[in-house]
């Protein structure tokens, strides 16, 4: 870190104070409402599959598949990105946001071809999610295995 003069420190403080602050309360409300609503839509399908005779843990699978379909379809049609402008994390954190993170870059990089464009860019965000998700689950599985061996 270079040593800052008094003026530079003052300017740093000044520019920080002028930087627009995100409207935290509004963003939080929107994230809560939109994220909650997406989960309620998921609950509709989950309840439907449970009523059809699946156990709650079995029903989670087809529910995710349907929600991923909607997330991908609404991203393709451009609706999801409009929602994302207002919803922030409310549209990112649900599984529909995971589908959005796949379709969005895949469409964007179509002009770079179907291998290096679409197929490769699909995993710009989804790849890291799978890497960290699968690795942490496997480590936890190994710990579980070792604890039960003892």
């Amino acid at each position: 870190m270079p040593v800052l003069t008094k003026e530079q420190q003052d300017y740093k403080k000044f520019s920080k104070s002028k930087r627009p602050k995100p409207p935290l309360l509004k963003n939080m409300t929107m994230a809560f409402v939109v994220g909650g609503t997406i989960c309620v839509i998921g609950q509709v399908f989950l309840s439907f599959f449970i009523a059809k005779g699946l156990t709650p843990s079995q029903a989670a699978g087809p529910t995710s598949i349907i929600m991923i379909f909607f997330g991908a379809f609404l991203t393709g049609t451009g609706v999801y990105d409009k929602l994302g402008k207002y919803a922030g994390a409310g549209s990112i954190v649900p599984i529909t946001g995971f589908a959005n993170s796949i379709v969005s870059p895949a469409m964007e990089f179509k002009r770079e071809g179907y291998v290096f464009g679409v197929a490769a860019k699909m995993f710009v965000v989804a790849g890291p999610v799978l890497v960290y998700g699968i690795t942490s689950a496997t480590i936890i599985g190994l710990i579980y295995y070792l604890l039960h061996m003892l």
């Binding site: 995100p22 935290l24 963003n27 939080m28 929107m30 994230a31 809560f32 939109v34 994220g35 909650g36 609503t37 997406i38 989960c39 309620v40 609950q43 309840s47 709650p56 989670a60 699978g61 529910t63 995710s64 991923i68 379909f69 991908a72 991203t75 393709g76 451009g78 922030g88 994390a89 990112i92 954190v93 649900p94 599984i95 529909t96 946001g97 995971f98 589908a99 993170s101 796949i102 379709v103 895949a106 469409m107 179509k110 679409v118 197929a119 699909m122 710009v124 965000v125 989804a126 999610v129 799978l130 960290y132 998700g133 699968i134 942490s136 689950a137 496997t138 936890i140 599985g141 295995y145």
Partner: protein, 117 residues
């Protein structure tokens, strides 16, 4: 009642994500990675299942639920097949979701073009 709880629990998980995004310099990709890992850890500690019992889809639809799904799969497979289950469990349990994401994602990207902003 399930619907109310799904709304509250799911909304609350997203709210935590929003606070992280607004108060730190994390990108959405960071949030997804942190949440999937956190879901896996909480599941491994046996805590996430309680959240699923209370919030139903409100806990399984957020990406933390994906981490939970991977871990429950691993643990089931370890119980059944031992060490091999450590390697097969996570993807077996998430097979439907991952396949849907790849196939639907690819097809939608072929069908549609980005909207000009």
């Amino acid at each position: 009642m399930d619907f109310v709880m799904a709304f509250i629990v799911g909304g609350f998980i997203c709210l935590i994500g929003q606070i992280l995004m607004d108060t730190t310099k994390l990108f959405p990709a960071h949030i997804l990675v942190i949440f999937v890992t956190l879901g896996a850890i909480l599941s491994g500690l046996g805590l996430y299942q309680h959240l699923v019992d209370v919030g139903k889809a409100g806990a399984t639809i957020p990406i933390t639920g994906f981490g939970h799904n991977l871990v429950t799969g691993v643990i089931q497979e370890v119980d059944q097949y031992g060490l091999l289950g450590v390697f097969t469990g996570a993807l077996k349990s998430a097979a439907g979701g991952i396949t849907a994401a790849i196939v639907f994602g690819f097809l939608m990207a072929l069908l549609f073009n980005p909207k000009s902003k």
